[in-house]
């Protein structure tokens, strides 16, 4: 398997093919659960398991896709800039919405941690689950959680948000595009935002804003909530 470890294009290529496959499946069956991201991740995991190719061998090539994440996040400022007037007009609603999202996240995790009898360390691990990975890692590390588990939970949260966002918005009657964007971004950071972008320009812009703002509020909020259990 040395060849795969040294191959630059193996990881990137199967990622692209798997995503294309997921996209085609969704186009054919139109089911929310056939989310391209979920399908591509599941099929790559299955492929690696069947062929006994190590995750490290896959990642040595695929990591170059992750390198684009920083410039892509920087570019989220572009739709935000285009909706700047709308943001200014609804600033109070947007800020309160994001605040309520962070508060809801921290409270729900505290409640369930008590309910399920989690240890302090596990509780800390979950606190940053709705914010972007890069900030979440910092919070988990700083407050003493299991960092690798935090990363796993954050990604799971993102994929989940990406899948359920249209369903939740429809069934719970979140109809204002601004409110949809804030809901998706606050709950499921950048991975959810990828879906918000597909729903509309306003949704995408507001979701992008929520990533940054909710991430920063969580840094402070989580350190306060860490003392509650």
């Amino acid at each position: 398997m040395n060849f795969f470890e040294n191959s630059v294009f193996f990881g990137v290529t199967i990622s692209l093919i798997a995503y294309g496959f997921g996209h085609a499946l969704q186009g054919k069956f139109k089911l929310a659960i056939l989310n391209p991201l979920l399908i591509s991740v599941a099929s790559i995991i299955a492929l690696l398991a069947v062929t006994h190719i190590d995750y490290k061998a896959y990642y040595s090539g695929a990591q170059y896709l992750s390198y684009l994440l920083t410039p892509a996040t920087v570019c989220l400022a572009i739709p935000l800039y285009e909706q700047f007037e709308l943001l200014k007009k609804n600033l109070a609603a947007v800020i309160c919405g994001i605040f309520s999202g962070v508060f809801a996240s921290l409270c729900s995790i505290l409640a369930m941690a008590v309910f399920f009898g989690l240890s302090h360390k596990e509780y800390i691990t979950f606190l940053p689950k709705s914010i972007t990975t890069a900030i979440g890692i910092g919070v988990s590390e700083e407050l003493g959680g299991y960092v690798t588990l935090t990363v796993a939970v954050i990604i799971l949260t993102g994929i989940l948000g990406n899948i359920i966002a249209p369903f939740i918005c429809r069934h719970f009657r979140i109809t204002e595009p601004i409110a949809r964007g804030i809901a998706i971004g606050s709950a499921s950071h950048a991975i959810g935002t990828a879906r918000a972008m597909e729903m509309g320009e306003i949704e995408g812009a507001m979701s992008s804003l929520s990533i940054a703002v909710s991430g920063l509020i969580t840094v402070i909020g989580a350190s306060i909530f860490a003392q509650f259990m």
Binding site: S105, M112, F116, I155
Partner: protein
């Protein structure tokens, strides 16, 4: 030349974000500094929207792909999750849905409130 210039600007701002992340002792990642910096540059006309737009839209469009490598890494954390997977899943699912509903409805309530106030003022005047 167009794309060279556009990617040049985007990567330069990302790089400045990295420098800020290195120099400022806060848990704020380079990408968030970069996002704010890009917004300021666009707002104050230092960067014109047309000189980043095409490449920016391209990067945003392919963004879901960038999460695949880390998400496949979930197999690596299988050992730490172990038998508690059920509990962890319930917490993750319930809290994500709860946050989405609360944040969405709070925002929506505020928007509708200010809209009805606007209408009221229009009627009054």
């Amino acid at each position: 030349m167009k794309f060279i210039k556009q990617f040049g600007i985007i990567l330069a701002i990302s790089f400045i974000g990295e420098i800020m992340n290195y120099l400022i002792p806060l848990p704020v990642p380079a990408s968030i500094y970069g996002l704010v910096l890009m917004l300021l540059c666009l707002h104050f006309g230092i960067v014109h929207i047309d000189s980043v737009k095409d490449s920016g839209k391209f990067l945003i469009e392919i963004m879901p792909l960038m999460f695949i490598p880390a998400a496949v890494g979930l197999i690596e954390s299988w050992k730490t999750i172990g038998s508690k997977i059920g509990t962890y899943l319930i917490i993750t699912v319930l809290s994500t849905i709860f946050v989405m509903i609360v944040a969405g409805h709070t925002t929506q309530a505020f928007i509708r409130f200010s809209k009805s106030k606007d209408n009221q003022e229009r009627k009054d005047s």
